[in-house]
């Protein structure tokens, strides 16, 4: 039985189905004056996940629109309190106004960790949930050091910083009790980016597709699950063809092509990933994260919306 296990990721999403899903999302969002947005995004994510399979296992997305909406409402109240408090502090002294924004910046890693935890706890392999167990403290230290070094090296250190971040995220991610790991190297990433950016500029953006493929493959090739390496074989030509004809076809069909475009792009990216050895699924035993919640995602949504409104008012 083990020999038959399909090691390559398969994606069975269809443009037509996705089109109907988007239409439904669009109208329900409009008639609910935007509130359905939370459900809509869950629907899209779930559509992509539920049509993805690997090693005979189904990937699942289990967030609900309701929990994301509730998270958003809670976050909005929280944000309103923070803004109100900050206004008060500024009235007392303009210098006091720096306290809360600074506090928020320092708390940002905690928000990112909480978001990651929520996402992982709502993702599953054959119904066994993923789990993220990283601590915000570690990320804060890493971000402070990484951010500082990136700044003084004029961005060059970002490659190494991103590799560290990925290692941290993957190393603390498990499916139930089976873990991931990442061993990408900052130097390699820097070379790929340097080459990618230069060639993209020289070729007026054409190389960007191959750049995207190369970086995706690099990350996949340096990802391990249960100690076994994954293999990335995304072909830049496929991305190029889709992104070259995508806008043309979208214009010709008055946008109708967009769902097909998105689904095909997803298929190219996902089907370029495979395992090199069948996973031992008996080692994956559920270890649910019972306290992960959508508050951090709600905070990001609320802040984004606020930013958008402020953007528009100024």
């Amino acid at each position: 039985v083990e020999a038959e296990v399909k090691l390559r990721v398969s994606f069975s999403g269809k443009g037509g189905e996705f089109f109907i899903l988007l239409i439904k999302n669009f109208f329900l969002t409009l008639i609910t004056l935007g509130v359905y947005n939370f459900w809509a995004r869950v629907n899209v994510q779930r559509y992509f996940f539920m049509h993805t399979e690997i090693a005979g296992g189904r990937i699942g997305w289990h967030a609900t629109g309701k929990e994301r909406f509730v998270g958003f409402l809670k976050a909005s109240v929280l944000l309103a309190i923070i803004i109100g408090l900050n206004t008060l502090l500024i009235k007392i002294s303009p210098y006091l106004g720096i306290i809360l924004p600074l506090g928020i910046i320092l708390l940002l890693p905690a928000v990112i960790v909480a978001m990651y935890r929520f996402r992982m706890s709502r993702t599953s392999f054959n119904q066994v949930r993923f789990r993220f167990s990283g601590r915000a403290g570690n990320l804060t230290a890493m971000t402070l050091k990484g951010g500082f070094l990136t700044l003084i090296t004029f961005g060059i250190y970002a490659a190494w910083f991103s590799a560290q971040l990925r290692t941290y995220l993957y190393r603390h991610t498990t499916i139930g009790t089976s873990g991931f790991d990442y061993d990408g190297d900052g130097g390699d990433i820097f070379v790929i980016y340097l080459k990618g950016v230069l060639l993209t500029m020289i070729t007026f953006g054409i190389f960007n597709s191959w750049f995207t493929a190369e970086i995706a493959n690099y990350h996949t090739n340096h990802t391990l699950f249960q100690g076994q390496r994954l293999k990335g074989e995304v072909d830049g030509t496929d991305i190029f063809l889709l992104n070259f004809f995508g806008p043309v076809l979208a214009l010709l069909t008055l946008g109708l092509w967009v769902p097909w475009w998105l689904v095909k792009l997803k298929a190219v990216m996902l089907q370029g990933v495979s395992l090199t050895a069948p996973p031992d699924i008996d080692l994956m035993h559920a270890d649910p994260d019972t306290t992960a919640n959508a508050l951090a995602d709600g905070l990001a949504d609320a802040a984004g919306l606020l930013d958008n409104i402020a953007d528009f008012l100024t």
């Binding site: 069975s12 189905e17 109907i20 899903l21 988007l22 239409i23 439904k24 669009f26 109208f27 329900l28 969002t29 409009l30 008639i31 004056l33 935007g34 509130v35 947005n37 809509a40 995004r41 899209v44 994510q45 539920m50 049509h51 296992g57 189904r58 699942g60 289990h62 967030a63 609900t64 929990e67 706890s121 709502r122 599953s124 392999f125 054959n126 119904q127 066994v128 949930r129 499916i175 139930g176 979208a250 946008g255 967009v258 475009w261 998105l262 699924i281 008996d282 994956m284 035993h285 559920a286 649910p288 994260d289 019972t290 992960a292 949504d301 984004g304 919306l305 958008n308 409104i309 528009f312």
Partner: protein, 399 residues
């Protein structure tokens, strides 16, 4: 009645799928799962479903997935079957105690294309009517007292077109027409200013500040022409077109932001939404021009001023800028084609000839005299040399 179908169970604890069968006992309205041993093919009762948990039914290609969540959303189990009849039975009989909306909402969409179309048509109608009503009326929510402050803020933007210059005589003469055009008891405080520019244009800001470009004054044959333009601009102020556009734009942006802005993965989608919003607002702005024309025609008529001059003005503009305007399709122009506007004024005048003539009899002789005079302009405002062509927009309400 007992119904059954082959099923695969994923329990949320171990990833290995457990094949078996799903049995619905119609008499007791119970749902049971029996596990089948892979080697001996022996059936063994595994568990019964608990109705009180949250259920969701979805389709994935030919499969139906029934997912149920045990308290909270940190774990959930899944039954996979490929028997649409059985799934409907579960939905309609076993889960019949559940809220009908939620029972159907998750499933109906993917089940029948016909229903999708019907639901779409209903949604489209409701959305359309709702959106139309909202777009037409949302500006009522903004108090009239805000118009002035919005206008004052927008005034800064006029700098792009040139500097305000002093031409007290022109302003004094133009102000003589205002009482004829503004609504009685208007909350707006009107003011007129001249902007030095070689472009022909006029703006009305919310709140009542009207800016006339000096080229418009210089090129006008008489005050009758300017009176028409003034009446049109007063129309924008009285009907609060600037505020309408502002509130529509804000509402549209907010809804579109909610609909597309907050996407996890959708830059392509937001691009499509922006284009749609732009076209919608352009159409609306043309409606406002027509509305201001209607206002102007009515007020001119009531005052007894002929629209002959404003029609000639349009004709002149039409001739001067024909090559530029005709190359732009009417659909994307913010202003209705000038010929349409000329015809509109003509029709109005023919229809109300008697009243207009009667009003003309009563018109203050001083005003009557002024109408025929060539507008004066101060040296400070005068533009020398060739007057430039404008960009095809004659009077735009700047807001």
């Amino acid at each position: 009645m007992i119904h059954q179908t082959g099923a695969v169970h994923l329990d949320g604890v171990k990833p290995r799928p457990r094949p078996g069968k799903l049995v619905y006992d119609g008499a007791n309205k119970e749902l049971h799962f029996y596990e089948i041993d892979a080697e001996t093919q022996a059936e063994k009762f595994a568990f019964s479903f608990d109705k009180n948990h949250a259920y969701e039914i979805r389709t994935r290609a030919r499969e139906q997935l029934i997912e149920w969540r045990v308290q909270g959303n940190h774990t959930s189990a899944l039954i996979v079957i490929s028997d649409l009849k059985f799934t409907r039975l579960v939905r309609d009989k076993y889960l019949s105690h559940k809220n009908i909306f939620w029972r159907y909402a998750t499933y109906v969409w993917s089940e029948s294309f016909g229903r999708v179309i019907i639901a779409l048509a209903v949604a489209l109608t409701i959305t359309g009517i709702g959106a139309h009503y909202f777009m037409e009326n949302s500006y009522h929510l903004i108090p009239v007292t805000w118009d002035k402050s919005v206008g004052d803020q927008a005034e800064v933007g006029l700098k792009e077109f040139g500097a305000i210059c002093a031409s007290p005589e022109t302003v004094r003469d133009l102000k003589k027409f205002l009482p004829y055009f503004k609504e009685s008891g208007t909350p707006h405080q009107y003011d007129i200013q001249i902007l030095k520019s070689s472009v022909e244009n006029a703006f009305a800001l919310p709140g009542g500040k009207i800016t006339v470009f000096s080229a418009t004054v210089q090129k006008a044959k008489n005050y009758e022409e300017l009176a028409g333009i003034l009446a049109h601009e007063v129309g924008h102020v009285e009907r609060r077109h600037g505020m309408q556009q502002l509130s529509q734009y804000m509402a549209l942006r907010l809804v579109l932001t909610l609909a597309f802005g907050m996407t996890d993965d959708g830059s392509i989608l937001s691009f499509a939404a922006d284009a749609g919003a732009l076209l919608l607002l352009l159409k609306n702005s043309r409606d406002h021009e027509r509305d201001a024309d209607a206002f102007a025609a009515q007020k001119l008529g009531e005052a007894g001023i002929s629209s002959r001059a404003i029609r000639q003005f349009f004709e002149r503009i039409n001739k001067d800028y024909k090559s530029e305007v005709s190359s732009v399709p009417d659909f994307v122009l913010t202003h209705p084609a000038d010929e349409d506007r000329i015809k509109f004024f003509e029709r109005y005048e023919t229809k109300n000839k008697k009243q207009i003539n009667a009003a003309a009899e009563r018109l203050n002789p001083e005003i009557r005299e002024l109408l025929e005079q060539k507008p004066v302009i101060s040296a400070a405002c005068k533009v020398s040399g060739d007057l430039k062509k404008n960009n095809g927009n004659e009077e735009t309400d700047g807001d």
